[in-house]
Amino acid sequence: MNILVIDTSNQPLLVGLGQDGQLLDTFQTDKPKNHSIDLLPAIKSLLAAQELTVQDIDQIAVAKGPGSFTGLRIGLTVGKVLADTLNKPLLAISSLQSLAKQVQLKQQSGILAAEDSTVQNPHPGKLTKDTVVLALFDARNQNVFAGAYLGDTVVLEDGHYPLEEVLDLVSQVAEPVVVVGDGLHFQDTIEEALSNQPLTILDHDQSLPTGTGLLALAQTATPVENIDDLTPSYLRKTQAELNWEQNHQDDGQDKPYVFKV
C-alpha cells in the first residue's frame, strides 16, 4: 500500500511517500512561491528513488487547509486531478491537525522534551500525555487560523479566530500547552495569556511539516466521497464576498455562479 502525502498549506513544502503506515522518503523545501515549480518534480523523484511509477500510488493524502489560499490550491489541484485521473482514493486532512499530530508523535517517542524549545518559558514544564497542542498560522491583524488538540480530542475546532479568543480558551484548559506553527510571531502575547501553565512555543524549524502527522491521520481518515466537489478549508470568505453579502441576498441557487457553457 503506497500513499503519497502532500502539504503545501504554507511556505514549507512537504511531499512524502508512505508504505504500510511508514514514511519511506520525503522531499522538503522552505522557499517562498516555489510550490508550483517543485511539487511535481518532487513527486516524480520520490517515486523514481523507490523504483515506483505513478501507477503504483494507491492513495493520495493532501493537507486541505487552512493556510495560504494559493498554496492550498496548488496541493489540492494536484491531489484532485491525480486521484480523479488514476481513480484512486483521496484523503483530505486538516493542515493544523497534521502539525499537531506530528508534535504528539514526536512527544510519544520522547524526541520532544521541554528543553527542545528555543524559547525561554515562564514555566518550562515537562511535556506529558495531557499536553494540549495548539496549532496556529498567522492570519494577520492579530488573527489566526487555529486548532487545539488533546490526544485525538479536538479542544478547539479549526477556525479563523482573533488570537485573543484562542488564548482565552486554551488558558482555561489547565494542561501543559505546546504551540506549533507561527507561535513565535505572537510570543509575548501568548506567554502573557498562558502564564499560568507550562508552555512551549516551537519555532519555525520545529514547526515544519514532516509528513508523519499527515500520514498518521490518513491511516484512519475516510476517503473524499466526491473528488470534484472537494475545496480547501479556506475558513475565510474573500473580502469581496463579505462586502457583497452585507447588502445582498445570495441568489446563487437561481443563477449558478459558475456554469458549463
Binding site: 508550483s36 511535481l40 516524480k44
Partner: protein
Amino acid sequence: MTTLIAFESSADETSVAVVKDGKTVLSNAVATQINSHQRFGGIVPEVASRHHLEWITKTLDIALADAKVQPEDLDGVAVTYGPGLVGSLLVGLMGAKTFAMAHDLPLIPVNHLAGHIAAANFNQPIVFPALALMVSGGHTELVLMEEPNDFHILGETFDDAAGESYDKVGRLLNLPYPAGKAIDELAHKGQVTIDFPQAMAKEAGYDFSFSGLKSAVINQVHNAEQRGETIKEEDLAASFQAAVIKALVGRTKRALTDFPVKSLVLAGGVAANSGLRAALTDLMADFPAVDFIPVPKQYTGDNAAMIGAAGYWNYQDKIFSDLDLNTNPGLDFPLADLNQQDNE
C-alpha cells in the same frame, strides 16, 4: 494524427478540450464564472481562483468523455502558462502538469494570446505570412506572423485594451460585466450622433490608445446630465463603437498596406463584435489578395480548444516543458523590429 488535451484557466473560464491536429475540436468543456463576478462588477482574482479549483476535474472529465478518448489516445498536454491572473493560471497549470505526469505525456507550454490567434484554424487554416488583430479584454495588438508560431507585435495599446474600454463604458451605462456584447447589441439599434475623437489618428505606426475615448464618452454623459439632457443610450453605444472600430480598422489597413501578408486573422473576445467583423470584411475589398480569417464566434472568448490549436504548433516545433513549468502572468509576444523590416 496528433491528439492533444488542453487546459485553460487564465481568467474566469475553466476549460479543458481535446483537439486533433490543431484544427478539429473533439471536445471543448468550458465553465464560465460570469455570474459570480457580475456581483462585483469585474473579476475578483481570489474568487476566480477558487472557482477554477471547483471545476478543474469536472471540465477534465467532460472533455475526455465528450471526445470519447482515453488518456492513452493522447499525444500531449497543452496548457496556458500566461498571460493572465497568477492564481487562476496556477490551477490549470498544476492540473495539466499532474495529468501529464500521471499519463507520461509531453507537456506543451502555450501563450494564451497565441491560442486566441490559432483558433482561426477552426475557421480555415491560416495562410502565411499573416497579420493578426488580437483584441480582447486585456490585449489589443497587431501581430505579424511570418510562419506558424512566429509572433511579432507591430503595434499595441498604450493604455486600455479595446475590450476593457467596452467594459468601462458598460459600467457607465449600468450594464452587467462584461459589457462588450450588450454594447454591440445597443449600437445596432442606434445612430452615430457623436463624433468622438480618435486618439493618435495622425501618428505613424500601428499603436492604439483607448483611454481618451473612454474619457470622452464619460464627459459626454456628464455634460449632458448637467444640461439636463438625456443622450439615447443606443446612440451613445453606436457612436462609441464606431470610434473603436475606426481606430482598429485604420491601423489594420495601414499594416496591411505596409506588409504584404496572405491572410488577416481577427481574434480575441472582441472579435465577436459584429460591427468589427463587418467593417473588416468591407476593408478586405481593398486587399483582394488577402484572406480574411476571423475566429469562429464560438471560439473568440477564452476556451481550451484554442490552446490545443496553438499547442499543436508547439508540438510540431518540439517546444515542450519539464514538470517544473511555472506561470508567467506577464507573458507577451516580442516586439517586431521595424527597422530591420524596412531594410528587407
